[in-house]
């Protein structure tokens, strides 16, 4: 049995007909073709599904779409495109903060939210704030450098 859910996604009104058990992750990827958000575990343990819900990072695999009526969702696609990268994305590129890229959209969103909330950041702050976003490729050094660069340049 499907329910209609109205939400705002990347600044645009969206209406989807969903089963209650469809997560926000499922709906973004399959109903709205926003495949920048990734399924790494669907158990809330890896962070690859992170999106911003009403401005705050959430694990979209642990939220059912039906819970999001009237809420604002922002995915990585709204923060930049290949021809116009967000400064955080550009910083990841500059500092070799990605290899396979699977964790990267979530990492970038978490980092953007972090810098917005707490502009003065130490390396320890960054590592702790990103601890819930698993990366298997980079060993994190480039990611940390990228985030610190953005924080220090006050962008």
């Amino acid at each position: 049995m499907k329910q209609n859910v109205k939400l705002e996604v990347n600044g645009t009104a969206a209406e989807v007909a969903v089963e209650a058990r469809e997560t926000l992750l499922d709906v973004l990827r399959e109903h709205l073709a926003l495949t920048g958000v990734h399924a790494g575990c669907e158990q809330g343990a890896c962070g690859a599904c992170t999106v911003l819900l009403d401005g705050e990072p959430v694990r979209s695999c642990l939220v059912f779409a039906v819970q999001c009526e009237g809420e604002r969702v922002a995915t990585v696609e709204s923060f930049g495109s290949p021809g116009a990268l967000h400064p955080m994305m550009e910083s990841f590129r500059r500092h070799h903060g990605l290899q396979c890229g699977f964790c990267t959209p979530a990492m970038v969103l978490t980092a953007i939210a972090l810098v917005a909330e707490k502009p003065q950041l130490t390396e320890e702050d960054v590592r702790l704030a990103l601890a819930g976003n698993l990366c298997r490729c980079t060993g994190y050094a480039g990611i940390v450098d990228a985030v610190l660069d953005v924080a220090r340049s006050g962008e």
């Binding site: 669907e42 343990a45 923060f79 930049g80 990268l85 290899q99 959209p105 298997r136």
Partner: protein
């Protein structure tokens, strides 16, 4: 361009979420596959009732092996060309017996994955449990339950190579010691799980397959064979991959299943591995026990070395087989050293656990762990510095290549100056002084070192029975001067779109922005060999270099003729246009166009024993020297890395930033493998680490920075390249274990296992009679 820290071409799309991974390819009418997997570790399958599942709305098909038989599916086999290996065939789905928890029994195709999983619950399986064995030593006992009763044993393969002079070498050795080293089971865990999507295209009568697989052409071969199709009628493309690490270089039952389901249902179908499947029913790695006997003299020089390897290979239903890493282990025992006379006895044992297979390092980590622990033990016994003991055992500087007893042809540079550079860069003496001061104040600080010679760009022939050591590249300059490069390798994040573009750009003399590299598509090249085994820079780099160099030479010839005719210099773009569009003006004997296809073989590997009985697995070798300093928290058992330096010689470096990223990433995986990760089973074969809450990989707070220093000794193969991707994952477990052992030595704790988790170290400290200072901990 070679040697430039070029920013990565792939980053613009990956960092903005525009990468397209396997599950991002939506097509009209796509159906989803869920797999019914065994919940018993060992059982006879008596019946499978799918009637209720088939009737569930939204279900398109429910299949068992009987259904796949009816559609002409062929069995899979390991094809190992090794004398004495057990013959083995297996089907895509279990037929009448299951041998590990998670083994696929049936598959549901439905309009959504959720409905498919609902249907799984309606399938009724009647099975008769059998006794279970998970430990390889228990599996070798005379009364052990047999996975394949027709074998009469659980020993899948045994290889014993004991040179006649080995016994004498031990007899003549002033000292002989025995050690047992344990390498525990881990999982490679790429963040994107496995997946495959297939559809039959009636217009072209081809099976179109998308697969998150490191070796697309070989997957095409295996799918074609399993489905009874010609290779030309199967098209495989591997899209953006969210990691691979070897875990995605096998040819799995699930990939063949998806192909068969596309053919039988006549619908496009996708299977996406979920995390529990990935952790329990996919591919595990590393589990080996080494019984080492070492003979050495008073100077610490090893004169005789024997390693008996007991490798748990799980249920060996894996093509290509999971014994590959074990074979590499016994071929890499000496690594950077000359150990005099070397022998081994390898037993590969089947157990009721998930198949064991490839993971970055592929058997070299275990060999390296044994050599480094052994040299450290020798240093301790003789009261010598561990760095000095290594110096005394390193391969001599000449001759090159250094031919080992088994026939490996090692072509690295001089190792002593390399080790000296490590000591300088790490500040070895200063660290020893710091350690002494720390010990005086009761802190457990330790230093570990590792000297590694790594085989790179290996041949797969010995572990697969086919697939030669080559790579394909096709380079073209289009009429507008843009350059296209198609390669048979397959990036899983290593930056090949950039590094191979650098190679082509350098050879052609153009800017990198004019070069586009594509990979992973069987439609573009007749055959390729994928990316694994630290091979891409050597093999694809060499192929691209050859092709681009040939093209440049042709362009020079054409350009020279044009200049002669016009009297003015001509540009790259003008030559390109001339070659394609004004062919009547080309010099006599010059073919039209600018397109060069190369299948490149360096020619150094000897995949089967030659007349002298020699085999050489690797096209070239690389050398890496690593040192770390750690502190062990005596209350919590946490290991903190205080400093880590790797002096890396991977020949001519295409992109230093990419190389450093590979080392840092491998370092993280190596840390995880010893400090955080373990795949565990209970005695009944039930997996105990089925989620990422139980199987814990390093987070950003767990990984120190590895400082990389570059050294370049060009190889003898094209470009002077050497492989590099696996270096730090091979070195790190050994060097961390050495540092922890050094830190705990004053307490009498010995380290002979890769298990260095905090709980293990706490237990070791307690067993050694050590109690942490409650007040110091409380007031910290």
């Amino acid at each position: 361009m070679i040697g430039a820290r070029a920013a990565r071409r792939e980053d613009a799309r990956l960092a903005s979420g525009r990468g397209r991974y396997l599950a991002d390819h939506d097509v009209a009418g796509l159906c989803h596959v869920a797999i019914l997997r065994s919940t018993n570790a060992h059982a006879r399958l008596l019946s499978i009732d799918t009637d209720a599942a088939v009737s569930l709305p939204g279900v398109v098909a429910v299949v068992t092996q009987a259904d796949l038989d009816a559609h002409g599916a062929r069995p899979m086999t390991h094809r190992l060309p090794l004398p004495g290996v057990q013959a083995l065939e297996w089907d895509v789905l279990a037929r009448d017996r299951v041998r590990f928890v998670g083994e696929p029994i049936a598959a549901v195709v439905a309009t959504t994955r959720a409905i498919a999983e609902d249907a799984l619950e309606l399938i009724v399986v009647d099975d008769a449990p059998l006794p279970v064995v998970v430990d390889p030593f228990a599996a070798l006992e005379p009364d052990a339950p047999l996975l394949y009763p027709e074998w009469g044993t659980n020993e899948f393969f045994r290889l014993t190579v004991l040179p006649p002079s080995l016994a004498d070498a031990f007899a003549a050795a002033p000292r002989t010691r025995r050690f047992r080293y344990t390498n525990h089971r881990v999982a490679a865990l790429p963040l994107e799980g496995h997946g495959a999507q297939a559809a039959f295209d009636p217009a072209t009568a081809t099976l179109q397959v998308l697969a998150s697989n490191q070796q697309p052409h070989q997957l095409r071969t295996v799918i074609a064979e399993t489905c009874g199709l010609s290779e030309g009628s199967v098209h495989v493309r591997a899209p953006d991959m969210g990691g691979g690490f070897g875990n995605k270089q096998h040819f799995t039952r699930e990939e063949c299943l998806v192909a068969l389901l596309a053919l039988t249902t006549e619908r496009p179908v996708r299977w996406s591995q979920d995390r529990t499947e990935g952790l329990t029913a996919s591919i595990h790695s590393r589990e080996q026990v080494h019984d080492v006997t070492v003979g050495f003299d008073e100077m610490g020089k090893v004169v005789a070395y024997r390693v008996d390897v007991t490798a748990n290979i799980g249920t060996p239903v894996l093509y290509f087989s999971g014994i590959g890493p074990a074979l590499v282990t016994v071929g890499a025992l000496e690594g950077a050293y000359d150990f005099g006379v070397v022998g081994f006895d390898l037993r590969c044992v089947a157990t009721n656990t998930c198949p064991i297979g490839a993971y970055r390092g592929f058997g070299q980590p275990q060999a390296h762990f044994a050599s480094e622990r052994t040299l450290d033990a020798i240093a301790t016994e003789l009261g010598l510095d561990p760095l000095e003991v290594r110096r005394r055992n390193l391969l001599p500087d000449t001759p090159r290549p250094w031919i080992t007893g088994g026939g490996a042809r090692i072509d690295v540079g001089s190792l002593r100056p390399h080790l000296d550079e490590l000591a300088r860069e790490f500040g070895y003496d200063a660290w020893r002084a710091r350690q002494e001061a720390a010990r005086a104040s009761g802190r457990l600080v330790g230093i570990g070192v590792s000297a590694l010679v790594q085989g790179t760009a290996p041949t797969q022939y010995g572990v697969a029975g086919r697939f030669g050591s080559f790579e394909s590249a096709s380079v073209a300059v289009l009429p507008d001067g843009e350059v296209t490069v198609a390669v048979g390798s397959k990036s899983q994040g290593q930056g090949h779109e950039t590094t191979l573009a650098q190679v082509a750009a350098a050879a052609l003399g153009v800017g990198i922005e004019r070069v586009t590299v594509t990979d992973g598509d069987t439609a573009r090249l007749a055959y390729g060999m994928g990316s694994w085994g630290s091979r891409t820079a050597v093999m694809a780099g060499g192929a691209v270099l050859r092709a681009a160099t040939n093209l440049r030479a042709k362009m020079d010839r054409i350009g020279s003729a044009m200049q002669h005719a016009r009297g003015v210099p001509v540009s790259f773009d003008e030559i390109a246009e001339e070659a394609w569009w004004h062919v009547h003006r080309l010099p006599a004997g010059e073919d039209a166009g600018l397109q060069e296809s190369v299948v490149y073989t360096p020619g150094n590997t000897i995949p089967v024993p030659d007349a002298r009985g020699h085999m050489n697995f690797d096209e070239t070798f690389a050398a890496h020297m690593t040192a770390v300093a750690v502190e062990v928290d005596d209350a919590t058992g946490d290991v903190h890395v205080l400093d880590a330096v790797l002096v890396s010689d991977c020949g001519v470096v295409i992109n230093p930033t990419v190389v450093e990223g590979q080392h840092q990433g491998g370092f993280a995986q190596g840390l995880g493998a010893v400090l955080l990760e373990e795949v565990r089973y209970d005695d009944g074969g039930q997996p105990l680490t089925a989620t990422l809450v139980d199987y814990t990989i390093p987070e950003a707070t767990d990984v120190a920075r590895l400082r990389v220093v570059h050294r370049e000794t060009p190889s003898s193969v094209a470009g002077g390249f050497r492989g590099v991707g696996e270096a730090s994952i091979i070195a790190t477990p050994a060097v961390i274990a050495g540092a922890v052992a050094d830190a705990l030595a004053p307490l009498g704790v010995e380290i002979t296992s890769t298990r260095l988790h905090p709980r293990v170290l706490r237990s070791a400290l307690r067993a050694a009679g050590h109690s942490p200072d409650v007040v110091a901990f409380a007031e910290d």
